[in-house]
Symmetry: C2
Amino acid sequence: MSTYKLTLSYDGTDYCGFQLQPNGRTIQGCLEDALTKVYKTDIKIKGCSRTDAGVHARMYVCSYIAPDCVPADKLPLAVRAYLPEDICVSKCELVPDEFHARYDNCGKTYCYTINTAMFQDVFTRRFEWHYPKKLDVEKMQKAADCFLGAHDFSGFMSAGSNIIGTVRTVTRLDVVRDGERVKIYIRADGYLYNMVRIIAGTLAMVGNGKINPDDMADIIASCDRTRAGITAPPEGLTLYEVHYD
Amino acid sequence: MSTYKLTLSYDGTDYCGFQLQPNGRTIQGCLEDALTKVYKTDIKIKGCSRTDAGVHARMYVCSYIAPDCVPADKLPLAVRAYLPEDICVSKCELVPDEFHARYDNCGKTYCYTINTAMFQDVFTRRFEWHYPKKLDVEKMQKAADCFLGAHDFSGFMSAGSNIIGTVRTVTRLDVVRDGERVKIYIRADGYLYNMVRIIAGTLAMVGNGKINPDDMADIIASCDRTRAGITAPPEGLTLYEVHYD
């Protein structure tokens, strides 16, 4: 038996999130089923994070313990046959038994995409928030800069999470215009429930003139969810990269 | 009553093609239903071409006759509410009554996308053919050049079409590398059944070394379907532009 690290990507549109659920199709469920078929024994995986229903991953990392009957480099093609088309395993590596995808990473980067065009793009609609408003990217970046560093982000957390500490450290928050799209890249050491989607919704309201970027530091310090912006919808959110040393 | 010209785009993945069918969901069916709801009277549309099941359109043009109760510039938003998310009407214009989307255009451009990466891209998989082979784009372009001009393309037509003339004029056939993707752009005055998909499949086999580009002129002249390549799958094909004077 060995411990394997998997790198995968998925279109989360048709899933109830990553984590196994009693009712509802999940990425974890599909992946464990596929691996169980490959190894002909029950496989349980440990993921690097829970992503919400409808959220995507360009790079997701998880690990599992399995018999050594399949060489790591052959696993991606072997599991391909048992996976739906919206999940793709691109890499499998042998790792030390103590490896843990969630606790061993030194941060995760998410990308949130907003399409501001008047009409939705039928080709990319599954992966972006259609928000047909003029957005001032400079104001958004000014507000974004206030998030950098360690802050108590309890004003940027949805109810329903039972987390004890609410301080997280944001090391990158870039707002980038790409034609009619605005992309928000955020890297932090960890995230509260819906934190990226609330930050994206808040920055969109800054861009749209509904929140003044000069108030952002105050809004963060207030820890008051009602002063932050809306929770942007899940389709715009993609886990972009998981960082390991 | 006036004649209106509509410009739309669609993700054809979940449709049995453009044209109305007795059984099966079609773009035309969804669009006529939506327009009928907007105008509160039966609307019939005339399209610029039949696209096959699973084929997409970046730009599709059709026309219909309707009462003048909705200003043309308001129609795209009015019809939005009744359309599924994979069909998007971006423009509506008043045109002379004699306008015909199919007979009045002076050519159509299609784009066929091949993804040659080892693993499928979960974000673009609906719009490209996953063909994980090394493709020699220079050889493909050399073969592509043989298609330019007027030719009898009956060797590049699937059975089941009841067309009389089989001569078509190709005015553009470009093979373009875009990272791990190869895109084939073709413009012609008209197309035989599956013509673009057979040309794409044939060029892929040239790129992969299975067909010699020096044989291409002969293969075209032979009018022998068995000498051309495979019919590439529908997901890679997109109607890219319809040209009007």
